[in-house]
Symmetry: C2
Subunit: 200 residues, 2 copies
């Protein structure tokens, strides 16, 4: 148990130093680095982790008060998951460009206003993935444009329904759990959302 | 956009069927499967994902109202992260045995009461990991017993502080974000927690 220390010094005794890094697996979807690191006690250790380009998740708020959700079969889980729309960043892409594209492709909707929430990290021991969270409102419908071999169902639910599904375990996807909790904060008006008008 | 359908039929049109599965990478820490799957339209696709043994996270509630948190350097993020105590399940291990062991090893504390929250899935497109969430109270201090080459700092914070760190982006680790939101539900008394007395 350590006492609180000034923020700049916090964790200084925990820091590892990278001595070497090599890509040990290049798959069609996953890439894995293996780093050799020097630990705080001077010992060396290996660290393996996924190199990920990052992702964006969108909580889309309809004018009728509902949110858009999706059902998608996820191979690692071997079941259909309930999720907010999301997608991977292309190299160098901003969260907004990615979010606009994924929302349009997966649901057909464009949004007139966006609020950026911030990044979350979903597998900090074995992936460098960052998922940027954003809210979208002022939704305008349009044609869905799924990629080849992409299969998902879009549906509406009340915010309270999403939160109930978190409570009862029907939503277990972490980004969607966190989006549901932020959604409650938005509706309660207790946390600030910085809405920006954005050309569609 | 689909209308609501009975739960048993939901997502039936989204289901993939596994045709073949092979382990394409066996590292010292990560194992990767590559599956050949048949998509709903009859086409075939490859899916790569990590095979993970699962994990447990504990929100430890001290009698003084604070929670225990940890600072730990995470190689993929290249920075020190704020986290609730957590660890990987051994093969066949129950969430409770794992949670008791990890809490004791990382913080020194044993707990007299446990509440199981449920599973979350943190990387559903590329890992089959399940993280079991649990709360612990009635904490009794003891000696910390970190593994060789394990470095972390344990500290106390008020629940409101943890939630503020979620809001301001100083907590970005998904399991810790979700634990902080559940912690607020516990303190508000709005969600049910099923506390069980457990021999330490």
């Amino acid at each position: 148990m350590t006492a609180e220390t000034p923020r700049a010094q916090q964790g200084a005794a925990l820091r590892e130093h990278t001595l070497d890094s090599e890509m040990v697996f290049r798959g069609s979807f996953l890439n894995i680095s293996r780093d050799l690191v020097r630990l705080p006690n001077g010992a060396q250790a290996q660290r393996e982790y996924i190199r990920h380009s990052g992702a964006v998740m969108i909580v889309p708020l309809l004018d009728n008060g509902n949110v858009l959700l999706e059902r998608q079969f996820r191979t690692p889980m071997q079941r259909v998951m309930i999720e907010f729309p999301a997608g991977k960043l292309d190299a160098g892409e901003s969260w907004l460009i990615c979010a606009q594209r994924e929302l349009r492709e997966e649901t057909g909707y464009s949004a007139q206003e966006w609020a950026y929430i911030g990044p979350i990290n979903n597998a900090i021991s074995y992936s460098d993935e960052v998922i940027h969270l954003a809210f979208a409102r002022g939704l305008v419908p349009g044609p869905q444009a799924l990629e080849d071999n992409e299969f998902l169902e879009v549906f509406e639910a009340a915010p309270q329904q999403a939160l109930d599904w978190v409570r009862t375990g029907q939503i277990t996807d972490v980004k969607t759990v966190i989006g549901s909790f932020w959604l409650e904060k938005l509706l309660q008006g207790t946390w600030n959302f910085d809405w920006q008008r954005v050309p569609a």
